[in-house]
Symmetry: C2
Amino acid sequence: MSFQNDLTRAQAEVQEELDRLLAAFGEDPVAEAMRYATRGGKRLRAFLALESAALFNVPRARALRVAAAIECVHAYSLIHDDLPCMDDDDLRRGQPTVHRKWDEATAVLAGDALQTLAFEIVADPATHPDGAVRAELVLTLAQAAGGGGMVLGQALDIAAETAEAALTLEQISELQRLKTGRLLEWPCRAGALLAGADPAPLLEYAAKLGLAFQIADDLLDVEGDSEKAGKALRKDAEAGKATFVSLLGVEPARAEADKLIEQAKMSLLIYSPKGATLADTARYVVTRDR
Amino acid sequence: MSFQNDLTRAQAEVQEELDRLLAAFGEDPVAEAMRYATRGGKRLRAFLALESAALFNVPRARALRVAAAIECVHAYSLIHDDLPCMDDDDLRRGQPTVHRKWDEATAVLAGDALQTLAFEIVADPATHPDGAVRAELVLTLAQAAGGGGMVLGQALDIAAETAEAALTLEQISELQRLKTGRLLEWPCRAGALLAGADPAPLLEYAAKLGLAFQIADDLLDVEGDSEKAGKALRKDAEAGKATFVSLLGVEPARAEADKLIEQAKMSLLIYSPKGATLADTARYVVTRDR
């Protein structure tokens, strides 16, 4: 129960931080949509930031800013992903997607502004007194999110849909490392950077966690309950898309995810006993919504 | 002729810098679209960065990075502005817009990645050895571009299209200060920040220049040659949109722009005689494409 308590407390704190940061914006539809799109969600990325920072006793207020920033990037990517020209989704976290509740122009602009806000939050002196740390956080976040990171993953994903040959397991791993892995890695890195600590063990942890996360997502798409997930499912199979599950089969995919989680937990031994919550987080990632 | 020489030389240098920075990306359509969208253009924002930095003898290599960054933000904003759900434009700088040459998904992602790249460029140690300067550049760029800056201006512009009452002159000034003014102001500010100098006189210059720029844009929309401009014109009148020109009339609008240019030049006297090129730039802004 302690893990669930920690997560629930973190979710409330992160929401409060986001509400505070977004209160500065006005009453125009884009500002409303920014607030709407940053409500709810599991806050996995934020929690990774908070728990990574907690390993090094980083002041909570600083960790919360980094946590809020990564949730802004995540929300921006979901808004744009859901657009009719991308995945064309009507439902997100059990609510209408931004372009369904407002319109496409509002969705494009709200996503744009949430990306900008993430960098504004990180670069602000309140995040860390040392400007070099803030600049390093900005640089690594941009590398994770941009055309060599998440957006490249999305571009490869779109290209795969019209490609003649289905992706190999290796290609799917690389695509997912970019598309979802880089934004799971960054909050772990940020926790270490805020403390001036070596991020290497956390990056190792995040790499395993990221792959396990994607396998769990593929399993959810096959086995999950769309009402519980709050979004459309069975989309991969309908699109004839190669996934970890379509290539490995359900049970071997589950076994692979379990193996990755054990490897992720190994990377945390160096922080023992402080890494317990991050270890629980790895386990949580493959059991969520099932 | 010296001004035109300076501008032409700067355009070539900025293109070279952008080509170098964008060479790191792959051959996927999003990367190609990023390169495509950062070719051409007058490079006014980049030139403002270079000339503001030159006032303080900032090393050219640093100024060029800031110049490239603001052109990335500008290119991102144009790609998203041109989308069917926004202005729905087919032509930009005399070439097909990104969503016409590729598709909407590629345009959304290329714009997203160009915004990210701007922050990556600014936060990189090559931009300035002092991390606090880099963080301040990131922070002010985010404030200029985001939901309290350019994107807010775009949101207000969209809202004005469906509003019952036409905008007043004061409301148009405020909207344009956000929508185009903030991204003309930032490169001027950045030139001073790179040198640790007080940006106040340059911000005053940029405020006048920004309004004059918008009046010139409105005049161009009414009087210009769309072939020469490389984009669709007469859009404001067709949309029944209130502009400086529709509210003031052609000749008074031109007189107002001329007055603003003289005020902009006054703000540069403190740098005399070094501000001559920025003074010429102000003049250039109201005579371009006519």
